[in-house]
Amino acid sequence: MLKDHAKVMKAIAASGEIIGRKKLQKMIYIAKKLDFPFHEKYQFHFFGPYSEELTLRIEELCNMGFLNEIKEKKGGYFQYRYTLTDNGKEFLALNEVEMPNLSPCLEDMNGQNSRFLELVSTVLFFDTLPKEEVKEKVFTLKAKQKYTEEEIEIAYTYIESLKEKTIH
């Protein structure tokens, strides 16, 4: 029960603190694409893969008092920081979810910036297409982000390094 909530909490616990909703969205999406058992449904939105279900689940966890959300004004928008509360830690201890190798993947992703994770998640969203078509998608759908060929290559390499982490 509340297993899907517990999995999201586990992801935040493994990351320590996640700064930014966009980053959180992309981290869970990438983890899901690496076959970790997250069930939030994602769709492609203006800024890449996005899950309304995950947004609602995070709101629920904040309302339950299991997640701590700090809202900060940053430039023209608000930024949010997420950590587990003591109650959240207690809940998670009683409802432990096993996801071996999740922590190293999330820790690594958490060290990247959200712009790069947006690129990685977009590449993964089109993972059934050949690389050249993926590049074309990135250049047309993400024109404003001005990603370069080199960055896309780095994203591919990064995905491979994450896949390595899932099996060690």
Partner: protein, 433 residues
Amino acid sequence: MPYSTDKLNEEKVFKDPVHRYIHVRDRVIWDLIGTKEFQRLRRIKQLGTTYLTFHGAEHSRFNHSLGVYEIVRRIIDDVFEGREEWNNNQRLLSLCAALLHDLGHGPFSHSFEKVFDLDHEEFTRRIILGKTEVNKVLTRVEKDFPKKVAEVIAKTSKEKLVVSLISSQIDADRMDYLLRDAYFTGVSYGNFDMERILRVMRPREDQAVIKKSGMHAVEDYIMSRYQMYWQVYFHPVTRSAEVILTKILHRAKHLHEQFYSFKYHPIHFYSLFEEETSLEDYLKLDEAIILYYFQMWQEEDDTILKDLCRRFMNRNLFKYVEFDPAKEYKKLQELSGLFQKAGLDPEYYLVVDSSSDLPYDFYRPGEEEERLPIHLLMKNGEIRELSRESEIVDSISGKRRTDHKLYFPKDILKDDSSKGKIKKQIRQLLDIQ
């Protein structure tokens, strides 16, 4: 005359209770409506199990799809055409995407997707690109046309303005389903002035924006979305039916995995159980087929499957209490143990349902590049996010409201003829004396 611009000799009209008339003049649209994949949508209800709460809610995805098409047609033909920012070459693409946007929905699709790991959007893509009648019609327009339509629906098209007409925070899809669902459920709070919103929509490079003078009509739309969310979509009785439906599917899948011998072989379910559903198998599914199995499974030997099917078919639904996971998760564990002792498998008979389990949402302003918000076009040409201008929207979108309920079979718990002592303990814990 090329097929893409071919018009019917006479305009066809569909009488519609929400938009009065749906007008079809384009041959391509008329041909798409006639395909068997589109006709299948007549046999899938727009609101799934809601008819068990609001008996009028029997309308189908066919009705809704025509409605979305009609709204997009009006936006383009009555408002956008002739404006500098609108390229009328995208007209047919927009109309086809609007008409076909829900093509991949299956019966009771939210529950089916959860249990069998399906994605109706993926099936929409497969129907449009696969060997289907819909694909044949679209290919006649242009070889690449099916791909273009599929990309608009998947929101991966470079034509972002076209995408925004069908899928954004204020799109034809939401406007039609709010008005249609309000009409068929009979509630009064889903209504808003759609005509006014359409009149003040303006095309921009990436999305349709709303003239500031139309802000109050948009406020009404946002309020209606908020009300419908809590009053209709998250209605606790509908959620109870959804819980039972989901548990029937889980049970049937579990039995199949245990090599249980069904009296009524679920041949339409086999590929779902194996999670290898072909397009051909998927298109054979509709709600009539599913309800046939539920009807027959009332006679199965498995007590859980037959009980759940009996409940669903006869509307003998689970009851609920409000549940606060933060304060009561330990109680939930205790209840789970007691249910087992009482001979009730908690996996099927003690279920937490959360607002995040719903496929609907209410408006939130775009924060930190999550998704595109509603933008107002100010008199000086500036673009401003809606909640920054509207106090009403700001106040409801800033407040978080979430909800959890705990569902259980009260009738069994009140029957003390067996395990009466344990059931009494359960009733005390649930406070349902």
